[in-house]
């Protein structure tokens, strides 16, 4: 019997031995991502992932207000509690504002590990691989920066080594434990990733969900600005504009319906949107009236950005997202670079240069020929002006929260926010610990992270 058994086995082995019978892919759509195209595909996963940024930063800002009914219709506890700056924010053990950036980090880490292991590549592949590494680094840095803006205090050079930053993961292996780094280490990582990325990113891309070198430089400018490092912010914003980024002339945009802009317009340096929340586009989410009133009647943005939803509405709703849709644009734009340049020039004492950048931007924002350039302002006036224009230009982009955190460090620019909901008044004083969101419960329990005291 034994003899025969071996004969069967021999036949079977003949049948299956030669051609990798057991190596067949179990599913057509399943891959073990290893090729450049597959890894690029991970970074191109824009569907609510790689080009989303957390929305919590928008909720607590003075960009908007809502009625009591609007507050009631906010569709989640985190939305409501962050609107009124409660101590507790999350009602669930996990929070998308934490999870989404970390998932971006994970994807980027998978790409980086695989791409760095690739050896035998030819020249054109070599270049492609470098671009891929650049993109992954850019996306990882952006994710860490978005996290730091929510879950770590504002950066100050003198205290950064003594404060807690966020968790930094640079390897895809998920079983490695990793606690919080210091704030300094967090920003070192962000800047390190971005500096490396800028050297690798391409000058042009097929679509702005992929970062270009200019986008990398722009993000560096944004990061340095948030760190109050105006010199570096200025340097990178300049570099970013050098590649020929253009401003969109708002005279060429027709205000219409619910949305004014087309997506992927020429001002978009890098496309990302705030993680969608129903109330972002509720007809009860009104622009802050003071902000609305600050646009003068010749300012095209007044109509392109806002509209009155109906006769009886108590305010104006936003329709000016560069996504061309409901989603609030949170990416990098040429306009933002002009504003960074204007602010940093002024702060560095080059007031005239600063105002020149501002005037260039305003030319494109006002009705043709109607804009009167600013000149002859002292530094304080110029700074106030540029900050006001910054707020007007970058409303509803999720940038205001970090501006508030940064500007509150300067007593002259500090602002106390107030809201009234159901006849109860809430306020958020400058430099409040509530400018730092609590770490989600899951992370405290499963990873043993130190909580943020609010």
């Amino acid at each position: 019997m034994k003899k025969y058994k071996f004969q069967f086995l021999a036949i079977l082995l003949l049948l299956v031995g030669c051609d990798g019978f057991l190596d067949e892919k179990p599913s057509k759509s399943l891959v073990v991502p290893q090729t450049l195209a597959e890894l690029q595909g991970l970074l191109d996963n824009t569907n609510f992932l790689m080009n989303d940024s957390p929305a919590l930063v928008f909720n607590g800002t003075d960009d908007f207000w809502t009625t009591d009914q609007g507050f009631q219709s906010f569709n989640s506890i985190p939305n409501q509690s962050s609107y009124i700056w409660e101590e507790e924010i999350f009602d669930t053990p996990q929070a998308s504002d934490w999870l989404i950036p970390y998932r971006q980090v994970f994807y980027a880490n998978v790409v980086l590990e695989e791409a760095k292991e690739m050896n035998q590549v030819n020249d054109s592949e070599h270049e492609e691989r470098d671009e891929l590494i650049g993109r992954a680094l850019f996306m990882r840095a952006k994710a860490f920066f978005d996290l730091a803006g929510q879950f770590a205090p504002v950066y100050r050079e003198e205290s950064a080594s003594g404060l807690l930053g966020v968790v930094i993961r640079t390897k895809p292996k998920i079983t490695d434990k990793q606690g919080r780094t210091t704030l300094q280490e967090t920003y070192d990582q962000i800047l390190g990733d971005l500096n490396e990325a800028v050297g690798l990113l391409p000058e042009t891309v097929v679509i702005s969900t992929r970062p270009t070198q200019a986008a990398g430089q722009a993000l560096l400018a944004r990061v340095y600005l948030s760190m109050s490092d105006y010199k570096m912010a200025n340097q990178w914003a300049k570099a970013s504009l050098e590649s020929g980024a253009e401003l969109l002339d708002f005279n060429e945009v027709m205000p219409s319906g619910n949305f004014s802009f087309a997506p992927f317009n020429k001002e978009t340096l890098y496309y990302s949107v705030l993680n969608g929340q129903l109330f972002h586009y509720s007809n009860l989410t009104f622009v802050d009236q003071e902000l609305f009133d600050s646009y003068d009647s010749l300012d095209l943005r007044k109509e392109l950005y806002y509209r009155k939803p109906n006769e009886s509405a108590m305010g104006y709703v936003f329709r000016g997202s560069f996504s061309g849709d409901y989603a609030l644009f949170s990416g990098l734009s040429t306009g933002e670079m002009y504003l960074i340049l204007a602010e940093t020039e002024i702060r560095l004492g080059r007031i005239k240069e600063g105002l020149a950048y501002l005037n260039q931007l305003m030319e494109k924002r006002y009705q043709l020929g109607e804009f009167q350039p600013w000149e002859d302002l002292d530094q304080t006036e110029a700074l106030k002006l540029v900050l006001k224009e910054r707020r007007k230009e970058l409303a509803f982009r999720g940038l205001r929260w970090n501006d508030l955190r940064r500007l509150n460090l300067e007593p002259a620019l500090a602002k106390t926010l107030t809201r009234t909901v159901n006849e109860v008044e809430y306020s958020l004083p400058p430099n409040s610990p509530r400018y730092v969101f609590p770490i989600p419960e899951d992370e405290l329990q499963l990873n043993g992270l130190e909580p943020n005291i609010r």
Binding site: M1, Y4, K5, F8, L12, F21, L22, D23, E24, P26, S27, K28, S29, L30, V31, V32, P33, G41, D44, N45, T46, N47, T67, D68, Q69, Q72, S73, I77, E88, D91, T92, Q94, W98, L99, R103, Q104, F106, N109, V166, R169, P172, K173, I174, T175, Q178, T209, N258, F259, P263, S282, N283, L284, P309, D325, Y326, E441, D442, E443, Q445, L446
Partner: protein, 1067 residues
Amino acid sequence: MKKYLLLNWLFLLLTAGTLQAQQPGEKTLSGTVLSQVDQTPLPGATVVLKGTTRGKVTDENGAFSIAVPRSGNPVLVFSFVGFATQELEVGNVEGMMEILMETEGIDLAGVEIVSTGYQELPRERATGSFASLDETLVNRRVSTGILDRLEDVTPGLVFNRDRGRSDDISIRGTSTIFSESQPLVVLDNFPYDGPLESINPNDVESITVLKDAAAASIWGARAGNGVIVITTKNGKRNTPTQVTFTANVTQIEEQDPFYAPTISPADFLEVEQDLFSRGLYNSRENSRNKPLLSPGVETLIALRDGEITQEEADRRLTAFASQDVRNDLARYYYRPALQQQYALGIRGGKDQHVYGLSVGYDKNLSGTVGNDNSRLTLNLKNYWNFLNNRLRLQTGLYLVNGQSNRRTDLPQGFSANYILLADGQGNPLSVGRGYRETFTDGAEELGLLDWRYYPLAELGNLINEQEYFDFRGNLGLSYELSKGWTLDALYQYWENNGRSWELNDERTFYTRDLINSFTQVGEDGSFSLAVPKGSIADLGESRSESHHLRFQSTLNRTWNGRHQVAALAGAEIKSVDGLSNQSRFYGYDDELGSSLGVDYVTRFRRYHNQSLANIPYRNSHTGNADRFLSYYANASYTLDKKYTLSASARKDASNIFGVEANDRGVPLWSVGGSWVISEEGFYKADWMPYLRLRTTYGYNGNINRSVSAYTTANFIGGNNNFLTRLPSYAIQNPPNPELRWERIKIINLGLDFESKNGFLSGSIEYYNKTGLDLIGDQPFPTSTGVSLFRGNFADTKTQGVDLLLNFKVLDKELKWNQMLIFNWLKEEVTGYEVKALPLQYTGFGGGGETFPAPLTGYPLFSIFSFPWAGLDGDTGDPLGLEDGEPSSNYNAILNATPVEDLVYHGSARPTVFGSWINNFAWRGFSLSVNISYRLGYFVRRQPLNYNSLYQGGIIHGDYAKRWMEPGDEALTTVPSFPQSQVSNRDNFYNRSEIMVIPGDHIRLQDVRLGYSLESRKVLGIGFRSLEVYGYANNLGVIWKKTDSYEDPDYQTNQALTSLSLGIRAGF
């Protein structure tokens, strides 16, 4: 049994002296007595010349020779323990004979042969745990599907009703978490890859359920959940052609839309008025999306805006309060389902050729008007013996055609429960869907299509046709090298081709809505259509096929009449490939058979809110491939028919996990032994003449398709990446180089017994299963990028008892026997390291989470809840405990309650269950009554979601019992309607102690009444047998432990009573 054997020997001993040499006028016949099952010789069988004392006993090769008279129509009687006594007229027989003895039930569980799909064994020599169902038990129920036939007659098997799937079964608990949890189904020796609904129960001869390691480990990596071995009917050797015909019809009670209690229309309207007065519709009323508002809210808006008078508003609201949409559903949509089943079989066999042919047809009209399905099956089985019975060629061809037609979808998306579907004359009414009627009403005048939704007008207008052809063909060649030693080669090809076709014409809201919402407005205000007019058609095609090849060598031999060996070894290889394509056609014209192209690339502004969207792209392509390569061996040795030892081993490799995991694959093996105690000399218990002890130990495996050792990603086609249309990937699985196969260690201990006169027979088995290296989810800190990680994180432990008792209470003219099945089991998760959060532990059951969060020390499917501290006397808020104090801080309770402080109620699945079947027979009448019981488990009541009520959801009827004013807390446990949306208040209440009820209940499951005739002429037609029967199923709950009104197993879906009538005839 033993008694008969002894008597036979005694008889032969006494008559030995009378045995003489051949007399004149006599002839000598010789031959071999073999077991029909495995063709093994039966040494020690007796051969007696009927009417005389002359007899012989077969030798160790089963051979005998006996002298019989040449005249007087001599009859030989063959008998052997465990086999049916056979009489053979031998007047015309000369020379050698071969007598095949058929096994005889000793009333254990029907048949006495157990089949593993690789071999057939007499139960006497099987050490493992097998549950067998013979044809009678299979046919006891009336159903279209085969799985239903197993319920209540298979020890250890339970239907789970906690996950909303009707076909979810467990054999001896669940020893897996996320891997395949359903048993392997083996059909005619091969695992069946097709849909179970294509198996016609009328073609089934027997079912064997393999429950322990010795029984199932031969199936290796797929045996972990038990194996159901189905054998279809064939003819029998040397039997004349027999024709059987079965027909039955079943009527199922009409579904009652009022079965699951919901908030009354009057209450719902009251809530709307309240929310309206608080301005809570402002947001929706002003929304850019123009979402649907209910007629009640629209009335209030019209009143507020002065468009109607107070009197008119009151008139409308009063009318609404008296209406209920469920009346219309009952009237227009539901009907009693009707199922018809017909089957015809023609089977027979000669010495060299056996055949079986059967045709079956099922036609079911479903409980929703316009929908039906049907199935046509055709089976043809043959085998031929050649070379003096040493070579056997067998073939099988099986064809199934299944069809289903859906003409009606139940209407959906109601804005309120008081709407009407028809006016007084039965004309369809518009109910609004998706958008406010104030928005859709003017659509036609603007030049759009009618944008309203008339559910009744769509009734019967949908076309959804699904059809499949299932083909299975097998070929087997078996060659006997020498007595009892065969070589087998088996091959099976299977393919299943499916097609689905759905056509939504412009009469359906779906199509009109899509055309309208993609209508583009030009700068001059003109309309253009991005989605063309015409129907929308969806075509799906799928094709699966498998090849399965097996080489096997089998040895069945007996030496010296006392050593019996049954051994086999083999290897098999299997491939399964599936491909499916889905495509959509816009602007389809069924008359001309033409369709129009659309622009999938551009993001269009949608008409109603100007948001950007792509035209839905519904083309997809999937392909799957499974590859298996396995080696196996199995042997058993029996000494003196008393002691049996068995062992088996199997090694599997597949393409699923990747190579590394295969390398680590642990061979799955088992050992077992059995001992017929009653055969021992010292055994003196006359009242229990048969007693056998058996035990086994070994491992089964389980596979999981969702994990891999590598980082795996799923491709997302460009058309699904709506923003950029770049091809992209989503990571499905983080890398896990440590991945291993799941294994289940099983110890089984069994005792088979039969009392004197067969009054009591049965078996009791104890088992202990340990699930090792089970694939489990581990909650991970989300900073890793994953929130759950799937790996070999879990172990489980299950122990239990399966008891089967058959009582022969009366065996006179009135026969009465009882079958009692009792199962007890205790499940526990062991070694699940990471703890989940209280919110996750309390999520399972009652329609919450589909997967439980395992907790060490408790059953996998457990019911936990938050402690309940009553209702707040001032607000009617539900109170929980926070640090031991009553609290309404729901966030803290839900997230921070220590797991030890949760209330553990018990298992979510029955821990004690079974059935008690009473069978009565009197003359031709038979009556069978099945009472089933499910005890020792808990269910969560259906949730009450106030949050959903705020969004216009139609919520649970407990709303009527809510706390309304101080003092109510003494009368009710239903919280007050909160003044704002607090989702965690609902979450707490729905997961609290007060919402858990015991599931224990006893049910009168079914009753079967039959009348049968043997060998009669009825209406001029001669029948070999004829049975007329009636069968009623789901007759109701006899007892339940909970005081709550619910049927614990059917809280939302009613257990519908059905009544069947049928005949079964043999010619």
